[in-house]
Symmetry: C2
Subunit: 296 residues, 2 copies
């Protein structure tokens, strides 16, 4: 069996579209366990810390720079996921970039709807600056909701008059919480992990009564003027593919440098499955090289 | 003055939007002279040849592989431009990829409207195959109309049951001859070289009475199933930016690998100005590395 088929089997085993659905707590626990089953990079360490009052994990590998940072924002529809469940993605990305990783536990919906996540991410970024890390040595990155939050954080940072980081790396970003675009139709069957139904439900938990199209909730609709360079990775089999295209177009129209990579046969946030999937490690290495170049 | 400002000055001097317009012959001559003012790579040679009955130039540099080829399709709205006027772009790209370049003089409109250009490009590709060059060792590339023609050629190759090349590299492709998309409005002032008015006129010359939205004329609207991997370079200041986004989305939805690079501050086909613009040489080097990886 090919690695791609093995990846698909794992995803099919995780998502039961037709049967009874797990509770939010069950989903959170399963997602965390899935993440923790993945290896850290060689010599990698994970240490609890706090950034601006937000719980975080520091990831380090031998030889990585202490004066340059990856601020990592995990995915999970703003309602599940954790720093520890994504520590492997953060650690491998930071290792490939040769910098220090910080995965933060921003507050989750529905207990803490928007703008809690954005506030926590901005607070963590401000804490890195306060620690003396230059903005030109920081990359913000995230997957899925964390990819959208990466963009929302950069927008909020701009609104508050703070300096932009050196780069923004979005893995399969969820950036349009109104769920529009061709890919929701074309990729509905191909995407084994994400459905419009699930995204609609996450949106209610996160946005509540707010308009989900507002730019800090749906950065696909934002004005990107002045934002840092953006790298986007998205799978060709994702219902979220159109989100990435919208971000690329909006950012490009605002004269922001964008690199968009659409990976054949890949599913939502394939980087997460780095323990079993060569393409995950290849994509992480490529993104790491991009981040390394960004932080100079 | 920065290189970017110098680039803009050159473009402003070339395009007189409000005064009397040059004839087609004058435009062809000026475009050719502009191209010929650019240097070849070190040790580069240019030799006339013929590919499938289509006049072409072979570009070679010391150490380049003879068993791997770049088939280059120049830009110019399907009505101007030539192999010799773009020999520098072809030669530098092929040199960076370490392969042999072939820039072809496909027939131009209005003397030869669609499908002449597609037929000639397919004939040249078939001639390379007939010469024994493996399709896995061929990249087709082009700029502007030649970028759209690159995609149309790959689509026509698929329709005829011929094997796909190893990759398709599109520089600022003109892929939607109906001229739709946000960038036509947002970038109308920023784009110093291309206007919707000019593109509408080129469309009449090339498409004649045909529907310009048909996929071999406007590959933005094609089904990309089975096409080779695509690399796209486009400037953030281009009215054609939306064309690139459309191609990326359509190709991605068909599970074709896509890399889209939107370059800040860059104008239409900035690669052409490699004699004066560092970013042109940087972008050509990056595209060359991509092509080198594609042809193995």
């Amino acid at each position: 069996m090919s690695e791609v088929e093995a990846m698909r089997d794992v995803l099919r085993s995780l998502v039961n579209r037709d049967g009874p659905q797990p509770t939010l707590e069950e989903t959170r626990a399963a997602y965390e366990a899935w993440g923790l089953s993945n290896p850290l990079p060689d010599g990698g360490t994970v240490t609890p810390t706090s950034l601006g009052g937000v719980a975080a994990l520091t990831t380090q590998t031998p030889g990585a720079r202490a004066d340059a940072a990856l601020l990592y924002l995990h995915g999970g529809g703003y309602a599940i996921g954790s720093a520890s469940g994504h520590r492997h993605v953060c650690a491998h990305l930071a290792a490939q970039a040769g910098i220090t990783g910080y995965a933060i536990d921003y507050r989750l919906a529905p207990e803490h709807p928007y703008p809690a996540a954005v506030e926590d991410a901005v607070a963590a970024y401000a804490a890195l600056l306060a620690q003396g890390v230059a903005p030109s040595r920081i990359v913000i990155a995230g997957d899925s909701a964390g990819g959208g939050l990466t963009l929302a954080t950069a927008l909020a940072v701009r609104e508050r008059g703070m300096p932009q980081p050196a780069g923004l790396f979005c893995i399969s970003p969820w950036a349009d919480l109104t769920q529009t675009g061709q890919s929701y139709r074309v990729c509905a069957e191909r995407d084994l992990l994400v459905t419009k139904t699930a995204l609609d439900a996450w949106t209610v938990l996160y946005a509540g009564e707010r308009d989900p199209a507002q730019p800090l909730i749906s950065p696909a609709f934002a004005d990107y003027a002045g934002l840092a360079p953006i790298l986007i990775h998205v799978g060709a089999d994702e219902v979220l593919l159109s989100d990435s295209l919208k971000v690329a177009e909006a950012a490009g129209l605002a004269n922001v440098p964008v690199e968009l990579v659409i990976e054949k046969d890949m599913q939502h946030v394939w980087h997460f499955m780095l323990g079993m999937l060569t393409q995950a490690r290849v994509s992480i290495a490529a993104a790491g090289a991009w981040m390394r170049a960004r932080v100079g």
